[in-house]
């Protein structure tokens, strides 16, 4: 298990350029589809947690998944795995110190890759929307969040905190009205 955590997150770290949300589909594929370490819902919750905690999404996910599967040791091994590729790559770059960004071939490579990064991010959003947008309140939250972050330039932490509060009031009140549910740990609060 430890080796599997390390090698999977090493692979994720080695193949995600620029970081951020472009990594989400790669992480999703490995962690949910290939290994089944997280469910679809847990993966989305993980992104929400990563948004409200410091540090890059890839590191947060590695630490979380590692902890869930193999405790503290697992979290350290998975985090080391995701960090090591960038560490090694940068050491190689600085020790040669090539000005690779000025090479026309490297420029062309990245010009070709950038639209694919865009497609990856759009795909991540699409996939998550398909899982989460099931009833009117979810549409309302999603639309409101888009307006806040794009239109009013809200910080993502504020958007996540607001949507959690709305969820707590809307879905939480609904389950409180059926107290039996809440006491039993009510799985009727769906999605």
């Amino acid at each position: 298990m430890l080796w599997s955590l390390f090698s999977t997150f090493f692979k994720i770290g080695a193949t995600t350029f620029g970081g951020g949300h472009a990594m989400v589909p790669v992480i999703h594929r490995e962690v949910v589809d290939t290994h089944g370490w997280l469910t679809n819902e847990e993966m989305i919750d993980m992104i929400a947690i990563a948004e409200v905690t410091p540090g890059p999404v890839a590191i947060n996910t590695a630490t979380f998944v590692g902890y869930k599967k193999a405790g503290l040791i697992g979290s350290i091994v998975a985090t080391a795995g995701v960090v090591l590729p960038s560490f090694i790559a940068i050491l190689i770059v600085v020790s040669f110190f090539l000005k690779i960004e000025d090479s026309p071939i490297v420029n062309a490579f990245f010009k070709g890759m950038r639209p694919t990064i865009l497609a990856l991010v759009a795909w991540a959003a699409y996939r998550i929307a398909r899982v989460t947008l099931k009833e009117w309140m979810a549409y309302l939250i999603c639309g409101g969040a888009l307006l806040l972050v794009l239109g009013l330039k809200f910080h993502p932490i504020g958007v996540i905190a607001l949507s959690a509060a709305v969820g707590l009031m809307h879905y939480g009140v609904r389950s409180a009205l059926r107290p039996g549910d809440a006491q039993q740990g009510g799985n009727r609060v769906d999605n």
Partner: protein, 171 residues
Amino acid sequence: MIIKLFTTFFLIGLFTFGGGYAMIPLIQKEVVITNHWLTMTEFIDVVGIAEVTPGPIAINSATFIGYKMAGIAGSALATLGVVLPSLIIIVVIASVFLKVEDNPYVKAAFSGMRPAVAALIASAAVNILPNSIVDVPTAAIAVVAFLLLRFTKVSPILLLLASGALGIVVF
């Protein structure tokens, strides 16, 4: 110097939420303005190098600056410093979250957050659009890549490398 590198990058790791480009202003302030470890031009080069190497920008710049200031030991400590805050916080959160995952109020809060996550990621796509789609061929690559992701089981990694190779041929 090594301790200063560690504490500075620990602070950077602690105060940058969400990761990615949101971290750049803070790194710039600490590294260029407060500590004078890099000039502004050197800093822009570091961001460029971070773009073309794998991994998050925070890690790349910590490794780079640490190496420049104090060799391998400096790079290891700066990288450790930037990673440690997330590691500690997530371990604490994970140990709590995995216990309360089934609590109805926790479930309710996360039900509210999930549609917002979809919106945040969609907005990230909107933000990178102007730098990604600059002409007709780049627009075509984006559309084809999205359709491949939607309708086939193609690996995202393979898709990235293939589009980069295509870029070398086309541009």
